[in-house]
């Protein structure tokens, strides 16, 4: 949480409507996302109750487990879900693969990758658990299941693990995607309620965000997005219906009616959330996509391609727990990925960069002097090294020698030559013009605000000649931002190979072979 975002929330609270905290969309939204709304039975580790799933907002498919404690019916549900999910994933696997561009790993990559959207982080948890409880199953022998079930398990586990990577969009939680772009006027905890959050972002006509969110909290009028169901629904409606479906002393017709009533009741709990998720998709699509989004989606496509290959080659299911090396490597990777993701969003979006301007890792302001033709004659060859001065009000914290980059000229490095305070009442530069931005105009108004003058030596992004390509060097009066953030790919930390796991971490892990015990593990 930064001061900017906090301020946005305060503004939202006052104005009665959510405020943007981004000017672009930083998550990929597929043309055909697979929306999945799961419901689980209370009290169990992972007992699927129902799901609404599909790629077309007008035609959701409803899956229901009439006896959620019945093991066979659970696997039947998994098989039916597998049919839908695997068909969706399969469509992307068969699409032609393209060769990756130069500069990245060699090999082919699928043209596009599937995307699954669930309402909230708990939905991701459901997928992770469902993946765990199905990926070790076998289609032969005792306790055999439909062959599609273990495959579903492996894919779901893949999606769930991938969702932990910062910047990955293969599996999205609608609440998280929305909260990344809008600040509501309620607390982050309350933002986990999809209906309430959408109430703030897109309130119905005539209602404030607060009122809309309040209405969304009535579980009778607005069923929870799941996977947990409302306890009064469980006690008053679900339990009697499940009991009715389980009776053996009634006619087929009566039992059929009970099943149909149960399906209607569950559909009633799912349909409003289904609509809300598609509403979220629509809102996100309306935002312009951020520049570096494509790079991250490429990484997702790589991961998808790689896992599809692993499965095609008959690879084993993901083990229960990471080996020591894998765990450390994963942690290290996650830290770097988080930093890279944050930097990318800042470079793509001035409103996100503004956060860093408050902490001193970035600054912005007008260029006050510029020497576009300056040459550096110190070395063997003469090099074009223009120097500019930028004046800023931001609380800058950079040292001479630091390398900065500007979002508007990503290929160009700016090295800090000097940083000095500038007396606030110094006259504007000789070329002072009226087209300066509001913050410039404020120079005169707030005479007491401290200013800093930064001199920067520029290199790169100007062409090969000793005269810069027009436009590649900032001119006086131009408003610019510079930052220490980079999104350059960091090398992995150095880790021993699996076989060389030191004894302090348990020695080399055995090759993971799924066992019989895994296949017949109870799912009760």
């Amino acid at each position: 949480m930064s001061t900017l975002v906090a301020l946005a929330r305060a503004l939202a609270a006052e104005r009665g409507i959510a405020q943007p905290v981004c000017t672009a969309r930083h998550v990929h939204v597929s043309d055909r996302p697979l929306v999945l709304i799961p419901l689980a039975l209370a009290g169990e580790a992972n007992a699927p109750l129902a799901a609404m799933v599909g790629t077309d907002p007008r035609s959701p498919r409803l899956l229901v487990v009439h006896q959620p404690r019945n093991r066979d019916q659970r696997f039947a549900f998994a098989a039916r879900l597998a049919e839908i999910v695997l068909a969706h994933v399969g469509g992307y696997r068969s699409a032609a693969a393209v060769t990756r561009g130069a500069g990245s790993q060699p090999g082919a990559r699928h043209v596009d990758a599937p995307q699954i959207i669930v309402p909230n982080p708990a939905g991701i948890g459901f997928i992770r658990l469902l993946g765990r409880s199905t990926r070790f199953r076998r289609s032969t022998g005792e306790h055999a299941v439909d062959p599609a079930v273990p495959v579903l398990g492996r894919w779901l586990t893949f999606f769930a693990e991938r969702s932990e990577h910062p910047g990955s969009c293969l599996l999205l939680a609608a609440t998280q995607a929305l909260a990344l772009h809008w600040a509501s006027g309620q607390s982050p905890v309350e933002d986990l309620n999809l209906a309430a959050l959408l109430g703030w972002i897109d309130p119905p006509p005539g209602m404030t965000g607060y009122e809309a969110a309040l209405a969304a909290e009535d579980p009778v009028a607005s069923p929870p997005a799941g996977p947990a169901t409302d306890p009064t629904f469980d006690n008053e409606i679900l339990a009697p219906l499940i009991a009715a479906c389980g009776r053996s002393d009634v006619t087929d017709a009566v039992r059929e009616r009970s099943r149909s009533s149960l399906e209607t009741a569950l559909s009633g709990q799912l349909a409003p959330t289904w609509t809300l998720v598609w509403q979220a998709v629509k809102l996100l699509r309306a935002l312009p996509s951020a520049g570096r989004l494509a790079t991250r989606w490429d990484a997702d496509k790589d991961a998808f391609t790689s896992y599809a290959e692993h499965l095609r080659d008959g690879g084993p299911p993901q083990p229960r727990r990471d080996s020591a090396v894998a765990a450390a490597r994963r942690l290290n990777w996650l830290e770097r990925a988080q930093a890279s993701y944050a930097a990318q969003r800042a470079l793509d979006d001035p409103l996100v960069l503004a956060d860093y301007r408050l902490t001193g890792e970035a600054f912005g302001g007008p260029v006050t002097t510029a020497e576009p033709d300056r040459l550096d004659t110190s070395g063997k060859r003469r090099k074009l090294r223009p120097v500019i001065t930028v004046v800023t009000e931001d609380p800058i914290r950079v040292e001479p020698g630091a390398a900065l980059v500007s979002p508007t000229r990503p290929g160009q490095t700016a090295r800090v030559v000097s940083v000095s305070a500038r007396p606030p009442d110094m006259p504007r530069s000789a070329t002072g013009s009226d087209e300066w931005s509001p913050s410039n105009a404020a120079f005169g108004a707030e005479a007491s605000r401290p200013l800093t003058e930064v001199a920067l030596e520029l290199s790169g992004g100007m062409g090969r000649a000793l005269t810069a390509v027009p436009g590649s060097v900032p001119v006086v009066g131009e408003q610019l931002c510079y930052t220490t953030l980079t999104d350059s790919y960091q090398l992995h930390g150095q880790f021993p190979a699996r076989e060389e796991t030191p004894w302090t971490h348990g020695g080399p892990p055995p090759e993971y072979v799924p066992t019989d015990a895994d296949a017949v593990e109870a799912w009760s």
């Binding site: 579980p219 009778v220 009028a221 409302d230 009064t232 629904f233 006690n235 008053e236 409606i237 053996s248 002393d249 009634v250 006619t251 087929d252 017709a253 009566v254 009616r257």
Partner: protein, 269 residues
């Protein structure tokens, strides 16, 4: 009806159980009438379809029993069978599991909940009229009915007493009984092996996996632990049985003393 359902839920959210109860009753009423109306409609359309199709009429509302519910014995007989096999007081769940493992016919656990009470009533109405009664096991200290346990009246008193070590002793006794029965039957049901495994998993050195489990080894391991507790347990039970026979009347000896005794057992025994 939907509105009623919503109202019931709102009432529960507000903590107003009284109103919720009223609304629930209204809802049940409405649902019942709705179901009846639907059933009538189904009958009508069925008979219309029948007369159209001229197919032999199937009575729609005929109750269909579950296919395998050809009950061979009354519930009390089934329970008696299971308890006799076990040879020790047992909880309904275990009785049902034993029955499923070794005997034909189905025993539904819900039929057992009122069994003890019904047997007591029957005994008090006509004492000893029946060859046996399904009765309670008594706690050693207060001679009150131990919760959730059934025993057979023809067993000696001390087998129907529960001292502090008795739950474990009876568990091991039951394990031995199940193991021996498994050895005896030529073609055991999978349920029987599963039942034995549930015991074996909780007895030291009884078996390392369900697959490798051998009834003989389970019985041996159970007997080994049983030997550790047997003497102390028997001492408790014998002493308590003596007190029961002197202090309680016939009915109380079978079904327990309902009131706390004024002279609780000497706990240093």
């Amino acid at each position: 009806m939907d509105k009623l359902r919503g109202d019931v839920r709102h009432a529960m959210i507000g903590g107003d159980r009284v109103r919720a109860k009223e609304l629930r009753a209204e809802l049940r009423d409405a649902e019942h009438r709705w179901d009846e109306a639907l059933a009538e409609l189904a009958d009508k359309s069925q008979s219309a379809a029948d007369s159209d199709a001229q197919a032999p009429a199937t009575p729609v509302a005929a109750l269909r029993l579950a296919p395998r519910a050809r009950v061979l014995l009354p519930v009390r007989e089934q329970v008696h069978q299971a308890l006799t096999l076990l040879g020790a007081p047992a909880a309904p769940r275990l009785i049902v599991a034993v029955h499923e493992a070794f005997y034909a016919g189905r025993l539904v656990s819900s039929r057992l909940t009122s069994l003890r009470r019904d047997e007591e009533r029957s005994f008090r109405a006509a004492p000893y009229a029946r060859p046996y009664y399904l009765c309670a096991a008594l706690t050693a200290d207060l001679l009150s009915p131990a919760r959730g346990l059934l025993a057979v009246s023809t067993w000696p008193m001390d087998r129907r007493i529960i001292g502090p070590l008795s739950p474990r002793v009876d568990y091991l006794t039951a394990a031995i009984a199940v193991a021996e029965q498994l050895q005896r039957s030529g073609d055991p049901e999978p349920a029987a092996r599963r039942l034995l495994w549930r015991f074996a998993a909780n007895i030291p050195r009884a078996a390392s996996s369900m697959r490798s489990m051998s009834p003989h080894e389970v019985a041996t391991a159970a007997r080994a632990e049983l030997a550790v507790h047997k003497e102390a347990d028997s001492a408790h039970r014998t002493a308590a049985a003596r007190r029961a026979r002197t202090q309680l009347d016939d009915a109380a000896q079978l079904f327990g003393s309902g009131l706390a005794l004024s002279r609780p057992a000497d706990t240093s025994a």
